[in-house]
Symmetry: C2
DNA sequence: ATAGATTTGTCGGCTAGATTACAGTTCCAC
DNA sequence: GTGGAACTGTAATCTAGCCGACAAATCTAT
């Protein structure tokens, strides 16, 4: 029963929609399943065998720690997203962990090697997966080129716009976003200092562009960026 | 005869080494072949059918032009590299062109759709290709995170190190790089202004770290970064 | 050889945003 | 509800590196 659930979880992802039950079952043989609560830290890169994860519920952030101990946010993973060794190449030296942002999360995972086998037997899945990785790459390129050529304010605008698009609830021209990020998180995502982020957010609030609280962010008029 | 050459060109790439002659021939049916000279501009993104290109000889830079007309260097492609619609997803809106940096180049290409067919018939190729794209993504992530967290000097060092590693000729502790880039190119690659790049390069020269000329760059001691 | 055109060298002034440093708020656990 | 921890607000410095401006060097074509 618990097992059946996992099938459905995978089945849900657009990538796996074309697969038969049998194929998904194959993937699931050694599948892991995990629940965690807010603030918990999940180490996944250096863990035993390389895996690919699917976040079934909630939000997490992927944090990388460099030699000097500096932490950078690599990615925000939302419900339905895949993460982990997406490149199918285990890299041991990267030091990353995931931190739970929402109240709780559900994660399922499968072994990279199982996935590879599946891809080998399933060329059209391999093709879609390549496109999937390609798309991810394109997104990264895009967001980075934003980081480089635009100033902090523009980056914040862009970030809010993206966030609203992905998760916001539209109510007329207003968009309401559930705010599970601290200002520090936001600052790290748009690559600026916490203080600058605070200042910009407050500025936007006095402008009337947004209504900010720790619980939610309301964009008063999405058309004005 | 000319045709045969193309087979060998593709065959050369590590990605295609596992393929049979017949398979490569299949790819080559509608293959293009092109030579160009220094300074020439090759439009490739918006061109007719989406293609994947293999640079057989020389160096080119991929330049993207944004709405405001700003030019950014997206990539430096070297002999043996693939470029074009690597994600297997034609994107019409991106406005990119290639400019020839070396004296002359030879480029061969094949249609994305042909390549897709080949991948479908060849799962293990599909898998290697996925890993190949994944690796590319990892490289991009890496270089971008450099851009963001390091200062201009460190970025220049890193760039020179990478360049030396890829193309330099080692002579003891010295490394000689054929310099086909202007200081402006270098500046764009490491995302700084031309003036800053000039200053840093001169500084390195007076330090004795490098010997710079328009023809070549000599790194006097590669171990000192 | 000579005239452009392209690349390099150099110099101040200027600004976005980092950094430091505290104070005020909100949250959560006991 | 109380104390501490985690967030948020604000202000005063300080600096890397951008920008404009121009001169010098080097390359290229006729």
């Amino acid at each position: 029963m618990y097992e059946d659930l996992k099938y459905w979880y995978l089945r849900d992802h657009k990538l796996f929609r074309t697969l038969s039950f049998g194929q998904i079952r194959q993937l699931c043989i050694i599948t892991g399943f995990k629940k965690a609560k807010k603030g918990e830290i999940i180490y996944f890169s250096s863990s035993d065998l390389p895996r690919i994860f699917l976040l079934k519920k909630g939000n997490i952030k992927i944090v990388a720690v460099d030699e000097d101990g500096n932490e950078t946010i690599k990615d925000i993973i939302q419900k339905g997203d895949l993460f982990g060794e997406l490149t199918l190449e285990a890299d041991s030296q990267s030091n990353e962990y995931a931190k739970v942002l929402s109240d709780d999360v559900a994660i399922c995972s499968f072994l990279m090697s199982d996935f590879e086998d599946l891809l080998l037997r399933n060329p059209s899945l391999a093709l879609s997966y390549t496109k999937f990785v390609g798309l991810k790459m394109k997104r990264i390129k895009n967001s980075y080129s934003n980081l480089i050529s635009k100033d902090a304010k523009t980056r914040l605008f862009q970030f809010l716009k993206d966030w609203a698009e992905k998760e916001g609830k539209k109510i007329g021209d207003k968009v309401v976003i559930e705010n599970y990020l601290t200002q520090n998180d936001i600052a790290q995502i748009i690559c600026t200092s916490r203080q600058t982020a605070t200042q910009l957010l407050n500025e936007m609030e006095t402008n009337g562009t947004i209504i900010y609280s720790r619980k939610e962010i309301i964009i008063t008029d999405i058309r004005k960026l």
